[in-house]
Amino acid sequence: MNLTRLATDFAGIRMATPVMGASGTFGFGVEYSDFLDLDQVGAIISKGLTPLPRAGNEGVRIAETPSGMLNCIGLENPGIDVFLRDILPKVRKEAPNTAFIANFSGSSVEDYGIMAEKLDVDGVDGIEVNISCPNVKEGGIVFGTDPKAAAAVTKEVKAHTTKPVIVKLSPNVTDITVMARAVEKAGADALALINTLTGMVIDINTWKPLLGNVTGGLSGPAVKPIAVRMVYQVAQAVNIPIMGLGGIATAEDAIEFLLAGASTVAVGAENFVHPDAVVRVAEGIDAYLEKHNLSHVSELVGKVKIG
């Protein structure tokens, strides 16, 4: 893999490649060290952190669906304080060269500011504001479906951090470009899209929902065309860089997102199935650049030909 043509600066976060491990599917990164070389991971995006530890939802949390999966984990995490005290030092020791982005959410605008300030420490290269977890009330979804609330959270976070701020958008809205523009105007340095789509599975033997939380977030290859469309629309609407994600399993999938206007991508559910996926996708992009005689991955960004 030729890292010079893959090295990417994403809103001030320097990455070895433009391919990251998406929040909630990549642990804290070090869990993958048996399967891939963490130096070749663009960035580790942490499991969603909350102000206090969370046990997550009761009952069944995972369901297979056609070409994908539903989850309703419910932001199980040890809380930000344990993360900062115990986990971050371990990650920085085991993956000293990999960019680390902390994903977090709160239940009030003030929470987001407090979290952002706590995360404004060495070892964190950027922060991803989750206003789009569909599975818990406190997961920010109330902020992710109202442009005014999304802007207020973004402003609060920006006022409490020196790190690049990425806002992760929900696809569960009528017009995602309205949300994108609102958070751009409020000062977001970059956008990540899409989070999962709300879905449901019913067990026809018991007549009950399969998932403990009734509904869950859909991810995997099934959502990819929706995600590509949304990245394309948002790229037309804003001037800040975009991280594209949603169903990426291969380099070909990732290249679609780049052409649609994303300057970086993240691999999500596919990490569960093929735990070397983040690096495999980066290698595939590199091979594509070689084949098409391109000197840097940025030459693909937004180059979809329309009309």
Binding site: R61, M69, E76
Partner: protein, 263 residues
């Protein structure tokens, strides 16, 4: 903790045959995983030609380290396992493992191994390990099955058992009832039993765990829960133990001390 490096290996099918109307055995050639797999650990497998998306967890039923062969036993319960049952010899299966921590072994007393349904699978390797690799007293093996059509398990375990006891739901073979009903007689006959290891349904394991705890016998249970990854990142399989600590079935288990789960 599992300190063995986790691997993904393409294992070609060596054989895939029917044991009963709804249970199959599968032998895969995956020498790297087999060389380090311990009793009670599991693998996540994916038929890359199949129509399902996620990998599925399967307990390691047995290994042949010399030939690099892995035995899995599965119930044809859903689309993925039905497709798996159709595959011919030579077909490639992606195997990820070994995952989790296996059973613990102490050099004292006899072990009672109990399995229910396809939960009997990991009992095979555990029994072989106890009787052949550790060279201790052979375990007593108690198997709970539906009926006399599920006695195929004998072929896999009888050589490793001091005594093999069946219970059937319908009384068509052995003792009628649940596995737990046979335990008092076994403990009377083998007072040297110091450990119980169980893999089966939650209801079965709960009852046996409570009995073992009451009698002061060390008991380990092997849990099964829906999971997407198998190595601690999806958090689909977590639960709160009796100590209040949160555990991942995949990474911290699947084997747990019975007191922490059911105590």
């Amino acid at each position: 903790m599992n300190e063995t490096k986790k691997l993904v290996e393409i294992g070609n099918i060596v054989s895939n045959w029917e044991l009963s109307a709804d249970v199959n055995a599968l032998v895969l050639e995956c020498p790297d995983i087999v060389s380090v797999a311990k009793p009670g650990q599991f693998v996540m497998i994916k038929n890359e030609m199949g129509s399902t998306y996620l990998r599925r967890p399967f307990g390691v039923a047995d290994v042949d380290k010399e030939q690099g062969l892995l035995l899995l036993i599965y119930r044809k319960a859903g689309k993925g396992t039905q497709e798996l049952a159709q595959l011919d010899d030579g077909a490639p299966i992606s195997v990820e493992g070994p995952l989790g921590n296996g059973f613990s072994f102490k050099n004292e007393g006899r072990t009672l191994l109990i399995g229910g349904g396809v939960g009997i699978a990991p009992i095979i390797y555990t029994a072989r390990h106890l009787s052949k690799e550790l060279d201790g007293p052979k375990p007593v093996i108690l198997l709970g099955v539906r009926n006399h059509k599920e006695l195929f398990w004998s072929d896999f375990v009888e050589n490793f058992a001091e005594k093999l006891v069946y219970t059937t739901d319908d009384g068509s073979y052995g003792r009628k009832g649940f596995a737990i009903d046979a335990i008092p007689d076994i403990l009377k006959e083998y007072p040297d039993i110091k450990h119980i290891k169980v893999c089966g349904s939650t209801v079965m394991m709960k009852g046996i765990a409570e009995l073992a705890i009451k009698q002061g016998i060390e008991c380990e249970v092997s849990l099964e829960k829906r999971m997407a990854c198998g190595f601690g990142v999806c958090l689909g399989c977590t639960f709160e133990g009796k100590s209040g600590k949160r555990w991942k079935v995949c990474g911290d288990g699947p084997v747990f001390d019975a007191e922490e789960v059911f105590g």
